[in-house]
Assembly symmetry: C2
Homo-oligomer: 364 residues x 2
Amino acid sequence: MEMKVITLNHVASSAGVSAITASRALNGTGYVSPETRAKVQAAAELLKYTPNLVARRMKGVRSNVLGVFVNHFQSPVMHELMATISLAVRRAGLDLIIYDTPDTFCQGGLNSTARMMYGMCDGLLLVMPRLEERYLAVLESESRPTVLVNYIASPTTLPVVQGENRKASARATTHLLELGHRRIGFIGGSHHTGQSAARRAGYLDAMGAAGIAVSPQWIVDGAFDRASGYSCAAGLLDLPEAPTALFCANDDMAFGAMDAIRARGLRIPEDVSVVGYDDMLASRHTTPPLTTLRQPLDQIGDRAVAELVRRMQGGERDASVCEFPTELIVRGSTGVCRPDAPMAPAAAKKSAKVQQTARLAGAR
Amino acid sequence: MEMKVITLNHVASSAGVSAITASRALNGTGYVSPETRAKVQAAAELLKYTPNLVARRMKGVRSNVLGVFVNHFQSPVMHELMATISLAVRRAGLDLIIYDTPDTFCQGGLNSTARMMYGMCDGLLLVMPRLEERYLAVLESESRPTVLVNYIASPTTLPVVQGENRKASARATTHLLELGHRRIGFIGGSHHTGQSAARRAGYLDAMGAAGIAVSPQWIVDGAFDRASGYSCAAGLLDLPEAPTALFCANDDMAFGAMDAIRARGLRIPEDVSVVGYDDMLASRHTTPPLTTLRQPLDQIGDRAVAELVRRMQGGERDASVCEFPTELIVRGSTGVCRPDAPMAPAAAKKSAKVQQTARLAGAR
DNA sequence: CTGAAAGCGCTAACAG
DNA sequence: CTGTTAGCGCTTTCAG
């Protein structure tokens, strides 16, 4: 029942010309007499001819398609990033196809779909927070225009465009320090991206600069999801000297942490402050609204595309790292430290004024 | 500087065998002696050989890739749908690539990227609220396994999977009628999808069943975005006998309508009730929260993939339409009708009890 | 078990 | 202006 597919040869013979002439007539390349062209076009129309782009591509013709590899497509952050990338690609006169990579996309070599993408696209954008290090070598060896977005694990010969992580995390931690917190917990994400490590480094920078000895117990690793945020926070709150503030490597874990705090009958931010990372849409709407860090995803997306396009045109070949500043958004989930509050609620009043100031700043 | 790409021939000659033997050794098809296989694999490893899937596909080999055409990729609704589709495709053991179609993807024939997608994928899923009717013929003539999602304009030979629109819209309209509204406005979306028309039909069904003569002025068309919701609502509120309730064909327009209502100093729902469509995440968080209709996007996605996979395996060839029920979510943006309220606020009390009941139902 | 030949559909080269 | 030849990288015949 396979309906036979019309090829250029059918059109050519139907029009009484050779295949190459038909090709020229249809593509407008080279000289073809007007009558011949008309004849060919008519035949193509009649037969409903559809050029086989796969075959054309095999001849090495550019596809003008830019491929984006994504994993964790579901994440709202990814989504926002994709929107600007999509726009930027269109502006560059290119087309865009997206491959939502499974975790198995590269096991000692790219999987077949990934290779297909490499075959079809003129350039690749890798937006994969979870990219594992051992994949890098494979990708580097592909020797095709490729740009990494938000991937910062190991030094690579591939260009990287990303949001600032370390300094921003230091700033968030400093915000907590300024509110009087000293025992600050850090909930990291999975290791397959450099982001978690960079954010932890920033946290440690700020703690170190404040002269605070960080207990190893304060640092735990989750998996960038709400459930792990919950369990990690629960573990921290169970410590003999529990942290009075939690800095989570993303908002989703921060939501989980807030759940855990409330499950223990503690209040946010009166008893425990919470900071997230990403500024998801939902973060404005939690109770209280979440203090968090916001990357300029639009700038990151634009730049990544620009960088890739330059490489696709043969402009640039060197590695490079481009970092955009990340903004601290102060909201209601952070307040002044009152370490003894749960035991002695009365002590709360002493710093009411400072707290109110902090709140106002969070109104934004 | 183009690093030369390793082909099967390089591997073959390096291993001292023919290309076809190398192919067999690498793919595990046909008989190859263990030693030969080992030799070939070693050579492939050494040269970092990467099979060219485009070439393979040209021989007609299945790619196990399912293509999804999307437009309005940015929309949260689309996003949610994509998440379930992605999962379902993985479960089917296939891979997924997404083409975010520009509006020009099909002008008297598919554009080149669309054709490339058709060439590389075993089946296509079209999730395009904006799909114009004239494109349908082109897609139908491609004679490849294809399933339409949420597209219901004209009868088509392609299978369709969608959420219930007409009956759900009737139900929403009935909800407003039960609250005492009689002058109910309808703000439709763009025409490029059957959704807007189906929703209007449902609205008319309910109005007709209630024996209400619908003034043509009550029905206006927007563009499924917030701005058009605003201007359409503004137009309706300017009518001599302005509607007391607005039913919008999607949530985004409902948000715009709420803006317009407030801009006129009117209250929601005391003066004007609003109903949307989609139940976007944000709809829970407007003030007041939006009454809206929610499609079972997970079921729709699952079914669409299942339907497509069946067709890819040659199981089914006939057209079919599959419709899933859509749920009315009652929230605070709808209340009892008090047509004279703006002029005589005191009249409000008469139906306070009914209103309270409605509110409780909305707590959900 | 392995190879030679043929060809998927298309388009650069070079002739006519 | 048009056609012939050749070949992209791979895999399906069909013979060894």
